[in-house]
């Protein structure tokens, strides 16, 4: 507690440029509050308007993010804003872009899904906005305190969202599990932060990096334990093994649109924080944390891919696949201090994964029946014969997740593997390749099922009609998956700029 108090600087009013650095977060946070009030006066039948309002807010935040992309470059805030508590840099803005895109797509598919499931309440959108705000803050956080606060902001919103289906036991169970284990993980994170603060005397990442680099803080077991405990906290959030146990249960129990959001946005935001802390604040501890990250990375790839093999539910399979994908992104993290390509690869991978995975979940969302999610393998058998376009899009997402060219997923894997090879982590790349060979089995199984002939005596499932909004989201994610696989440099250039602009810099 003392450590917490000591970290608070003397109160000085923020300057204009400080506010500008937080503009997207401010807009979205403000919209979250207004939305809560709007919900009170919006009639129940008009709740789609709330979705529209959220879309406007997200687009506005996206606009300021794009503006900030150029502003942050022209006026480099090399020490961050708010006394270094928040990094106003291209790294954070890149992540903002990914997060806002994900949030936008989720909001667009939600009304139809929520109506069908009988869950259309106004809080849903405010919670999505709150969670997104928290994630964006996390992406830009340059102080241990801000990291912790934004982790809590996003987590609490997501706890509620995963229990959003109030009458569904699975959803309630998911929320409870997520809450208890999330609290557990937060404790690890906070404990780790406390140790790091105690050893270095700073909460600002830049100061911590300087302290370690200049030898003011000695590298001793307590600091290393702090680093390891922080890794535990982040690994929980990105659902990397062995801290992933909550993932399948929560993903399956939560309403599908929420799962879609969680599976990409949480991972992206938590990875942003992980990369900022480990690759940019702790590069001098690389020899020490590398082993731990590699361990988590290999375990995630192996465990996620193996467990995904024996699943029979799409949502659970995608949960395990998400664990495995976290492992691949960790390859990029593990090689990042040696090779800039590691961070670039991880950023590219995150963007590609977001689009693809969101697309896959969007397909499940828009196909879901009245009152139930049709996510069993049996229920997608023969989908291609009745919904050729949706099935083709889903097949593309599966290929992208498995890493087939010319999809974005291929280049994500390509970039992290080549970064690993360049930084001397050849075995890690080989593990990645071997486990992704295993993953092809369960991804292609979905494709196979969709294109198989439906059984004559099989129960016929009531797939919902594809609406304009759902179709647009699937079309957008399909296009993104393909465009970034063909015009790779589009995303690669942006990711490179993000890596180059990342704070703190020594």
């Amino acid at each position: 507690m003392m450590a917490l108090l000591a970290a608070v600087p003397t109160l000085t009013p923020p300057t204009g440029s400080d506010i500008v650095g937080l503009l997207p977060e401010v807009i979205l946070g403000g919209a979250f509050v207004i939305l809560l009030l709007l919900d009170l006066i919006t009639p129940a039948s008009r709740r789609t308007w709330l979705a529209a309002f959220s879309v406007v807010a997200i687009v506005a935040a996206f606009g300021t993010t794009v503006w900030g992309w150029f502003d942050a470059y022209n006026n480099p805030h090399v020490h961050g804003v708010f006394f270094g508590a928040f990094a106003y840099d291209r790294f954070g803005l890149f992540i903002n872009g990914v997060l806002l895109t994900s949030a936008l797509l989720v909001v667009v598919i939600s009304p139809q899904y929520l109506n069908r499931r009988g869950l259309h309440y106004g809080e849903y959108y405010s919670l999505i906005l709150a969670a997104t705000t928290g994630m964006m803050l996390l992406a830009g956080a340059a102080s241990l305190m801000v990291i912790f606060l934004s982790v809590e902001l996003l987590s609490i919103s997501l706890y509620i969202l995963s229990g959003f289906s109030r009458t569904d036991e699975r959803s309630q169970e998911a929320a409870l599990k997520y809450l208890l284990l999330g609290g557990f993980a937060s404790a690890f994170l906070l404990y780790g932060m406390a140790l790091v603060y105690g050893e270095t005397g700073h909460t600002q990442l830049e100061q911590i990096a300087i302290a370690i680099h200049s030898g003011i803080a000695t590298v001793d077991p307590l600091l290393l334990i702090g680093v390891v405990l922080m890794l535990v906290g982040f690994a929980f959030k990105v659902s990397a093994a062995p801290f992933h146990m909550w993932t399948p249960d929560v993903y399956q129990g939560a309403p599908t649109s929420v799962t879609a959001f969680m599976s990409v946005a949480t991972k992206v935001a938590a990875f942003a924080a992980l990369i900022r802390v480990f690759s940019f604040a702790f590069p001098d501890l690389y020899p020490q944390w590398q082993t731990a990250v590699v361990f988590v990375c290999i375990l995630s790839m192996v465990w996620g891919n193996l467990a995904a093999l024996s699943q029979t539910s799409l949502k659970r399979m995608l949960a395990y696949s998400g664990i495995a994908q976290a492992g691949y992104i960790l390859i990029g993290v593990a090689s990042s201090p040696h090779d800039a390509g590691g961070t670039i690869g991880a950023l590219f991978y995150l963007a590609a994964y977001s689009l693809t995975n969101l697309g896959a979940f969007a397909v499940i969302t828009i196909m879901s029946g009245r009152g139930e999610d049709l996510d069993r393998y049996a229920s997608i058998r023969g989908l291609a014969h009745r919904r050729p376009y949706v099935a083709a899009a889903m097949a593309l997402f599966m290929l992208s997740l498995a890493g087939f060219p010319p999809t974005a997923g291929f280049f994500g894997k390509f970039l992290v593997f080549s970064a690993a090879i360049k930084s001397g982590l050849m075995p890690l790349a080989l593990w990645g390749i071997a486990t992704s060979a295993v993953s092809i089995f369960y991804y292609l199984r979905v494709v196979l099922l969709m294109y198989a002939k439906p059984d004559a005596d099989a129960k016929s499932y009531e797939w919902s009609k594809t609406t304009v909004s759902g179709g647009a989201v699937v079309a957008f994610t399909t296009a993104g998956t393909l465009v970034f696989g063909v015009f790779v440099t589009l995303l690669y250039t942006v990711a490179t700029a993000a890596q180059q602009g990342a704070l703190p810099r020594l």
Binding site: K177, L180, L181, F184, L224, V232, P248, D249, G341, S418
Partner: protein, 649 residues
């Protein structure tokens, strides 16, 4: 030429057919026939217009700047170290401009024709989607300035060929033919990819301008560059149906006739010729490979011409004649006469597309009858088609002052001017001329002259305008296009002049030089006489004597007819040497090796992997306390390990 203009042009010409493909594929089946016809043909018309603009740009450019390579975007970058990258780069130079003109021009006419030909087919949207996709792939192939992109185009044309040969997938023979074609193509693809690796190994680049600029890295005539060229040639042989990879082409006639005209006559099968012409800087320093290519070309020309003599399927006769004519082109580019090789490619594209389309009219009029023994006397029923077919036939046979004559005599003249082996090959070429006249007019007389052989002939009607007009346009070209280049030094040489910036001289190779007046006129007289002898022989054998159509083959010497009728027993040979042994091997593998050896291993591996999957799944108990224990255990492990590591250090 401005870089940005060329970028826009290249982008447009590729995107237009692709857009047609996407439109036809996605909304075509629902949008109805009219939409499909319009989307299918207009997209190609639009890209033809772009091609004309490109062509104009190349003509207008001053002599030193005829070639330009534009970089669209970087596709793959292996970064530092390997320093290999694949850019989406395109080259616009006279060679690619010529190819683009032929592909889109002939392609457009064939698309228009297809509107009529596919009128009663339910899969018309699929058909046009594939056709547009083919045009896209072919344009990608000829515009590519990077080996990776070239290989992508190379493989995509094979894919579209596969899809179109097997277009009527309910017919087992079509599916088998498609498979045969694809497997043969893959053999060529592998050769091409290995060649790319070898080139990259020496020049350390995959960009064509860099490769051609860096040919100094190779020993002239050395084994390495010869190996590369032979591999490139194998790729070309597979694509262009040359010996010994030629057996797929006749079977490919299972596809709809417009496909045969576009892919298996005018464009795709000549990609091999293009490849060798494009890689001429490498071939020029590998004379051994050049000689091999020339021999294979002429050998195929002879073999295919003999085979064409006794085929009884109208499309197969034309298919063998295509093989034979491409053999001549390969002979030309093999001996370094690139310009005349490309000239013959152009005239051939015109008259061969014409022959196929006109044959399509006949097939259509007779209700899908392809056996020429059951035709005869069609000239009275289909005057226009007969006249146009005759124009194509005189062009093919090399009748004086008709397109085919100019190009064929020009390339034979180069052979006559070369010494030794080339001269020998030239005499084979003269024999091919005789044979060409024979089979071309055997076909024409049997189909259009004589007595009608079946009742269906009496019911035959002239093709509709939409199928006649494109063929008529081609007919004009088949008669007069060749006039742009005369096979004498100093006369009109529009084609060679146009292409000379690419090939530097009319024949930059060391093997063949442009013949002087004496050799040129001598070769011309000999060649023309040979063609006329062939045509006259056909006239005597199949017109004057009016044999029973059923015995057309028996009018040849016994050995020739035996070999010819059985296509030199290649199918039987491959069947006995490759297919049967492989099938037998496969049976042995399946019955004994697989269950005993492989399956144990494979099942063991996959079994243990899925077993591990179940174990991994079963850790997921659903109980929060278990999850918490895992987390704590892992965290404790991490803490202890990091502390221990510190103390150890």
């Amino acid at each position: 030429m401005r870089v940005d203009t060329v970028q826009v042009l290249c982008g447009l010409i590729l995107l237009l057919p692709l857009a047609g493909c996407v439109l036809n594929g996605l909304v075509g089946p629902r949008a109805g026939r009219k939409f499909v016809n319009l989307a299918g043909t207009l997209s190609i018309l639009a890209s033809f217009i772009v091609a004309c603009v490109m062509f104009g740009h190349v003509i207008a450019a001053d002599a030193a700047h005829k070639a330009i390579t534009v970089h669209m975007w970087q596709w793959l970058d292996l970064g530092t170290g390997a320093n290999l990258s694949a850019g989406v780069d395109f080259t616009l130079d006279p060679l690619s401009a010529l190819m683009v003109m032929v592909i889109t021009g002939v392609g457009f006419l064939i698309h228009v024709y297809s509107v009529g030909y596919m009128k009663h087919d339910d899969g018309v949207a699929r058909f046009f989607a594939y056709m547009n996709f083919f045009i896209f792939s072919m344009l990608l192939l000829v515009l590519a300035a990077d080996l990776v992109i070239l290989i992508v185009g190379w493989a995509l044309v094979a894919l579209s060929s596969y899809l179109l040969i097997g277009f009527w997938y309910q017919r087992p023979s079509a599916v088998l033919a498609a498979r045969k074609a694809f497997i043969t193509q893959v053999i060529g693809d592998v050769a091409l990819v290995v060649a790319a690796f070898m080139i990259a190994g020496k020049v350390n680049s995959l960009s064509l301008p860099t490769i051609f600029g860096g040919v100094g890295a190779f020993d002239k005539g050395g084994a390495y560059v010869t190996g590369i060229c032979i591999l490139l040639a194998i790729g070309a042989f597979a694509k262009s149906a040359q010996f010994p990879l030629h057996t797929w082409l006749p079977d490919a006639m299972e596809g709809p006739t417009p496909v045969s005209a576009l892919i298996h006559a005018a464009t795709m099968v000549t990609a091999g010729v293009y490849l060798i012409a494009r890689f001429h800087p490498l071939f020029d320093i590998a004379p051994t490979a050049q000689l091999i290519v020339a021999c294979v070309g002429m050998g195929t020309a002879l073999m295919a011409a003999i085979t064409a003599l006794s085929q009884i399927d109208i499309k197969r006769v034309i298919a063998y004649s295509t093989m034979s004519q491409i053999g001549l082109m390969i002979f030309a580019v093999g001996m370094g006469a690139y310009s005349v090789g490309m000239f013959h490619f152009t005239t051939h594209a015109i008259f061969k597309a014409l022959l196929f389309l006109a044959a399509g009219n006949v097939i259509h009029a007779l209700g899908d009858e392809q056996d020429i023994r059951l035709m005869g006397g069609l000239a009275g029923k289909m005057k226009w088609t007969a006249a146009i077919f005759a124009a194509g036939s005189v062009s093919l046979a090399g009748f004086p002052l008709v397109s085919g004559w100019f190009s064929k005599e020009a390339l034979l003249g180069f052979g006559a001017n070369g010494g030794g082996l080339l001269l020998a090959l030239y005499f084979v070429g003269v024999a091919v001329n005789i044979l060409t006249g024979l089979y071309a007019f055997r076909l024409y007389f049997t189909v259009f002259q004589g007595k009608p052989q079946t009742a269906r002939v009496f019911a035959a009607k002239e093709a509709p305008m939409v199928m006649l007009a494109p063929v008529a346009v081609l007919g004009v070209g088949a008669l007069f296009f060749g006039w742009i280049e005369w096979p004498f030094p100093g006369l009109w040489h529009l084609m060679s002049d146009f292409l000379s910036p690419v090939f530097h001289t009319a024949a930059s190779g060391p093997l063949a030089q442009e013949p002087g007046w004496t050799v040129a006129s001598l070769a011309l007289v000999v060649g023309t006489l040979a063609s006329l002898i062939g045509i006259g022989g056909a006239f005597r054998l199949w017109y004057q004597h009016r044999p029973d159509a059923a015995v057309v083959a028996d009018r040849l010497p016994r050995l020739v007819s035996l070999l010819s009728l059985h296509k030199f027993y290649f199918d039987e040979m491959y069947d006995a040497l490759l297919v049967r042994p492989l099938c037998a091997l496969a049976r042995v593998m399946r019955k004994t090796v697989e269950p005993g050896g492989m399956d144990r291993w494979v099942r063991g591996t996959s079994g243990s992997v899925s077993e591990m999957g179940f174990i991994a799944r079963d850790t997921e108990t659903g109980l929060i306390r278990d999850y918490a224990v895992y987390m704590v255990a892992a965290a404790v492990l991490g803490v202890v390990a990091s502390a221990l590591l510190w103390f150890v250090r």
